[in-house]
């Protein structure tokens, strides 16, 4: 029993090294490829998820859901559940903005009106507000009430928004309901550059 087995082992030992080298060579190609595919897949999946959260958030926001209420904020958190966002923190943020345009007719008779400007009317942030600021930031610090409404947006020069006009021209009395979502992509950090996934829906 022993001798044939012995022979095999001896011959095999010399060639087993080849297999290891071959495997190592192949791995050099395969492992990054597979990890890359996994990372890309995760990111693509994540970007679809993030876009979906933005779309759902904008869709509810435009229909009048008050996201300053904690119950409605929890709906957003649940929509974004696999992404790990919480109402006031976690790994994600949803920024809701209502933006309008003030024309001459609207501004008539109002001193210091932000005439012919796009202005921020409402801003609600759900999630980890430190992760990212809005692309449609107001020109300065504005005062918000409990529902996120901007005080004196017609006259407060800080309420002017410059980020949207390049994307969307608004007429007087038109309102754009904007949902921005941002989630860092941290699953396989070596293969992703850590900028995260950002999506915006304008309803």
């Amino acid at each position: 029993m022993n001798s044939p087995g012995q022979k095999t082992v001896v011959r095999c030992r010399g060639e087993r090294g080849n297999a290891v080298i071959e495997f190592a060579l192949v791995s050099l190609l395969y492992v990054p490829l597979l990890l890359g595919v996994v990372a890309l897949g995760l990111n693509l999946g994540r970007s679809v998820q993030v876009a979906q959260v933005a779309r759902d958030a904008a869709s509810m926001y435009v229909r009048g859901i008050d996201f300053s209420q904690s119950g409605n904020q929890n709906i957003l958190v649940q929509l974004a559940q696999p992404l790990g966002m919480t109402v006031n923190g976690g790994t994600g943020v949803v920024i809701l903005s209502k933006i309008t345009y003030l024309n001459n007719a609207i501004c008539s008779g109002i001193p210091n009106c932000n005439v012919n400007q796009q202005v921020l009317v409402q801003r609600i942030v759900v999630g980890n507000s430190g992760l990212r600021s809005s692309n449609f930031a107001a020109a300065g610090a504005v005062t918000l009430d409990a529902q996120g409404n901007v005080f004196n947006y017609m006259t407060d020069s800080h309420a002017v928004v410059s980020g949207l006009s390049g994307k969307l021209t608004l007429n007087g009395n038109e309102f754009a309901y904007v949902a921005e979502t941002y989630f860092p992509s941290a699953d396989i950090s070596t293969f992703t550059n850590g900028t995260g996934v950002y999506s915006v829906s304008i309803f």
Binding site: F23, V62, M154, S201
Partner: protein
Amino acid sequence: MRVNQARHHLDKPGERGVILLLSSLTLLFMIPIIGLAIDAGTVYAVKARVQSAADGAALSAARSLSRGLDLSSQQSAATDTAIRWFHANIPNGWMNVGTVSDPTITFPSAPPKTTIVNVAVTLNAPTYFMRILNINSVTINAIGQATRRDVNIVMVIDRSGSLYQSGSCAAVQSAASQFISSFVNGRDRLGMVTFGTDYRIDFAPAMNFATAGPPNMVTMIGQLYCYGYTNAAAAYWTAYQQLVTIGDQGALNVILFFTDGMPNTLTFDIAPDGTDNRLPPKTLATPSTINYGGYNNANPTPCRDSVGKTYPTAGWNPSSFKGVISFYGGIYLKDAPSFPASQSVDAQKIGNAQGDYGNCVFDQQFNNSSTIYTGGSPSRAIAGPGFMPFFDVAYLPEEDLFRNKTGTGYGGGSPYAPVNRYPGSFPAAYRNKIRVDDIGTGSGTLGVSDTITNAGVNALDYAAQNARDDSITRNLNVVTYTIGLGNAPNGVDNTLLERVANDPDANNYNSAKPSGLYVYAPTTSQLNQAFSRIASDVLRISK
């Protein structure tokens, strides 16, 4: 043994390097498969974005149907809006999609009382690996559809004298005009009820609110003249009755109520169902612990006009008053001939002792404006001039003309605002009735917290809650929005206006009933903003 044999078989000298070869062969299959996954992922991501853009375009188009006075200009405005919104969501070159072409906007036939906007999109998503197979792009189709419900809105607009005094009348006109421009002439119905001392349907709800007449809503708003007291409950209920008359169950029914003060005026008469809610005449001098310089102990006075000529005249029935009452403003005839809208000095309209109209003031003027009347315990001061109802009226009925309760809460129990009643020391006919000679818990500022004003507050509170419940049973589900302008000396009652709207912040908020919104505008510069916020909110829920 089996293991060894297997190894033996694998490690034949002729098979050396086969792993490398196999791997290379495998790659030939793997790379296209991985590529397919990447391409599919890209297409999926683009598809999600396209769908989102189509939805956003359709909803924005539905919101913008108000621009233009006829169907074709409204549809072209909506098409323009949809295209702008679509491109805002998918810029050219996003994810290498190249130039994004305009979506196709159509307005398919819709069920009654609705408008449908259909946004059809075709976009080519680029491929990266499938190009090997000569598939350079994948065509993505998406359809976004939004339905806009027609809206019936009755605006209830305060035109009381405090707006004139604060210089706010023009701002109200401007804000109200902006508000109506958010709605669709030809589909939405808009109407307007205004109130000062009287209340009046200035424009019965109609779909051609911007093109009718004149007069139409725009011209009526332009003629608003601010004068008189604040007869809010009657105006609110009249507005609600307009929505009941339309009876539009499929549409969104809205009341927009604007005021800058306390509802200090009430209307009394025989109710439509025959209940006698007229003001009882004063028949004897009432003993009182509160003494306004002794005047409240005066004997009843006959009805007289401004030059002291006494009545009765023909048709005058001294057994009851059909009147509009205000603690400060006294009593006016309810059914006086109306002036044309252009002469909307409403105190005249409801019979301010103008002999030409044969009407009568039931009150006595309290004296001139320099006099301050003091008295009572604790001492309170009332600044003149004033028309004191207690010269002519015994007490307030428990219900106004529209059966809104003045001294009882909705559903029974205590009313929202306290009312004082005559104590047991008064003659039996007066006992436990609502006082008309009492300045209540206020500081003596006329029109604030006196019992008649509080009764007016209660009547408005009752009217709003009654209308809300009644509209649910009629399947009209009326939503009330309120705006308070805070620049009048006595301000507005924020809690009351939250209750009227069933605002989520109201102290009696009921989420099972249609929720409205109360917006407070501290000054006229925020008024436009307040109306605008409500217009955008109405348009959101009309979808």
